[in-house]
């Protein structure tokens, strides 16, 4: 693969987080890409505002992994849109990621707390 001159993503962590959050949102209800994008921005306080387009490669990747599936449906305004919904494997993945996240963030929190107390 040719090394594309692509601007670095915010970070690998953020990319992984994006996937996890998207899965979390899709676990509640099927959504189309824009809806997902809007919801992510709303919940995250616009942390995910930069480059709305980068959601789509992430969705494509999750499709390929079999975590989500896509189908074309009509929106409430009767527009055709591609809706994503989570699969059984997606749920498993989400649980694993949340567990992983909690382990990591817990560790980070403990470290920070220790640093604050010690400092």
């Amino acid at each position: 693969m040719a090394p594309n001159p692509r601007p670095a993503q915010r970070s690998e962590v953020l990319q992984g987080t994006l996937e996890m959050l998207a899965l979390k949102l899709l676990a509640a209800e099927p959504m189309h890409g824009w809806g997902l994008s809007l919801e992510l921005r709303r919940i995250s306080g616009d942390v995910f505002d930069v480059n709305q387009g980068s959601l789509y490669p992430a969705l494509q990747k999750m499709l390929r992994r079999g975590w989500i599936r896509a189908e074309w449906r009509a929106t409430e305004n009767n527009r055709r849109a591609r809706y994503y919904s989570i699969t059984r494997e997606g749920r498993k993945q989400l649980e694993a990621e949340i567990a992983d996240w909690e382990r990591t963030s817990g560790a980070v929190n403990r470290v920070l707390r220790y640093a604050l107390q010690g400092g």
């Binding site: 930069v50 709305q52 494509q60 079999g66």
Partner: protein
Amino acid sequence: MAWYHEIVSSIGALFGRRRQENEMDEEIAFHIEMETRRLVESGLDAHEARRRAVLAFGGVERHKDDVRDERGTSWLWDGWNDVRFAARSLRRRPGFTAIATITLALGIGATTALFGVVKQVLLTPLPYGHPESLVMVWSAWKGFDQTWLSYDEWEGWRARIHAFADIGLFAEGSANIDGDDPERVRTAQVQANVFPILGVQPIVGRNFTAEEDRPNGPSVVILGYGLWQRRFGGDPSVVGREVRISGQATTVVGVMPADFRLPLDFGADGRTEAWFPLATDAAQNGALPGPEFPKGGSNHGYNAVARLRPGVTAATANAQLRSLVAELEQWGYMSDVGFHAYAVPIEEQITGRVRPVLLVVFGAVGFVMLIACANVAGLLLVRGESRRRELAVRVALGAGARRLQRLLLAESAVLAAMGAVLGVGLAVLGVRLVRASAPAGLARVADTTIDWSVLLFALVVGVASAVLAGLLPALQATQIAPAAELKESGRGATSGSARLRWRQALVATEVALAVVLVTGAGLMVRSVRNLLAIDTGFRADGVLTMRLSTPSTWYTDSTAVAAFWDELQRRVAAIPGVEHVGAVRLLPLATDMGDWGLQVEGYTPPPNQGTPGDWQIVTPGYFEAMGLTVRDGRRFDARDDMNGALSMIVNQAFVQQYIAGRRALGTRVQINGSDSTLVYTIVGVVDDVHHNSLVGKVKPEFYVTLGQFARAPGNTRRSMSLVVRTDGDPAALAAPVRAVIRRLDARLPISEVRTMSDIVNSSISGPRFAMQALGLFGALALALSAIGVFGIVSQVVASRTHEFGVRAALGATPGELVRLSVRTGVRQALVGLAIGIVIALLLTRTMTSLLQGVTPTDPLTFATVVVVTGLVAIAASVGPARRAGKTDPARVLGSS
């Protein structure tokens, strides 16, 4: 299960690419539209809202690319795009493309054709059940390296060699298939256990029963598939019916499979097509019943094939044979002649003689393939040279090194693919050529076909050649530094010396490989010339032969047979163009000859040894027809008919061995088995004739006439070869001679119509095949490396134009410039030559078994190769070098 989704997604992506692109476009358009609408609702005007929506989305095309990447098929699409791009850029350079494609096609075609031959001969299993546990069993003694078994030996081995699960006998013969269009076919008599030993069953009917395989059993036959199709239309109901064979009503009991052949039917003589029970026993063979041996041995006349017990090797069988023979020898069995017996694995028996030829030729073709790849790699390098600017621009525009490599590899892949397609075409022609030029002595070669496995091989060779030819140029591309490249692109720029060195190495490699091939070819040419220079003892040119048999049904006694041959020869002699006509029992170099015991007057053999002589039965015209030189005495003539005084002609080896120091003419000789009053007198001495093979020592041989042989020892000879000498084309005589035979007796089938030249050539078919193949490949290799040398000198001359201009301005003459350029080509050739000679010295010893009268390191051959390669290199260099001589200093220097 992730892999499952990956694969489904990839395959889906591959086939639904257009749909996916549309969906992606629609999805992104939807996103931007919704975002725009949201911004409008928050108070922005439509234009500004859309601008911000697009901005917030980020680079649309970039995100699309990322989505495509995530589909998991981009490598496929990139590959396809590379191929399409490569095909486009190759189309722009048709000359280069044609040369590279043809070069690869020649390499792939030759390699594929030869692989087809190798596969058929060496890799396709023999048409037997478990051929790996089959062996042929032979006897041998002084003067006979590989000869038949006696019935006693068969009985003995069967009872006492425990390595053999079973051993069966067969003997070859021939028979007339009677009918409107009589046909003579080769046949064999087989014991009832032979087909079961071989592990082959009739496809229709059954094998012989034990009741059929005994003396005076019923007349039964098993037909070969070809004969069954040809004569009986493949009708299964022929089984159980009576057909007439050699005048006798014979019941068909079975038909063998199409690919079935007896173990000795893979060679030049063609195949047996009908099989009868051997139907013999100890009494008939004058053998002792059971595993007992007469001290003097009995008649040796049977081929034997044995099935080894499970898990037993031929080596074990041979060890058992050795110890049993040692025991027998001590007891006195044929100890005077040094009798021994041995088993040969059937695979080795059938392909043993062909294998070294094929492996050498296959190795040679591999070299041709490598040279072709080196040549194309060289061409691609040159092309890379002229494209450096284009590639530099691509690098500057952001193409990575690996992407460039892939592009260049795609180019060689496209070339290799075209070369492979063309090459398979060439291979089909090549196989046809091999089959037609039918080295008849080479077992199974004529059965070669192109099948799927051969095509698969061509594919593998194609891929390998793409990698071999494309890798070096592709790796070169990584070293492109755009800044330097674009700067140095002025007209006076010189080629990077590192890149030139690669090409020089390639050319040297080509020359080295070519030298090895040409050396091999040279050695074979000398060998074949040596073989052809061997004095056969007869003159082959202008001689036509064919085989005839006079069955006892129609020619009841020897008088009738003699009368037939007299009349036939009288009539054939009357055909215009016929100089001499005769007949002989066995044609030299076409058959194997055994010997007959004699008593020679005045000669006492050493203790326990006999006085054997190879025995020939002839008609008086034979010596002139075959062109034998009489050294002493006379030829046979009309005196030597059935009623004349018994006269014998012997060869010079006979005189040297049995009559040395005495007068040959007048010496009296008795043929064992004759009435003691019937003694022959030697009336002539002729040259030694090489009978069993061109090489090897000629044994004592004697000639008697057909008529007199019927008196002493008293056998009527029924199968003879007609020998006709003409001053014109012998093949053209076939039709008139056939017509004469048909008018004389239309019932007699004619077989084995061949010229003696064909027979001589076919007897050295192995070395000849190797010579022709190596000669062809050597020439090809030399031509390809000449192109390589030509190319490198052209490149050097082109890149040094500026330097030459300066030299010319400083007073160098055109001749000096030409010599300077030639030297650059010749230098590479010399490096290759030196390496090639070393490799050849190491490799030619693998050809030892093919060589005749020349050592694998023959100095004359090597010297010739050096001279020839040198001349070719100079010739290839001169063309482009002449341009250097025309360098015009004013123009060159003025333009820079």
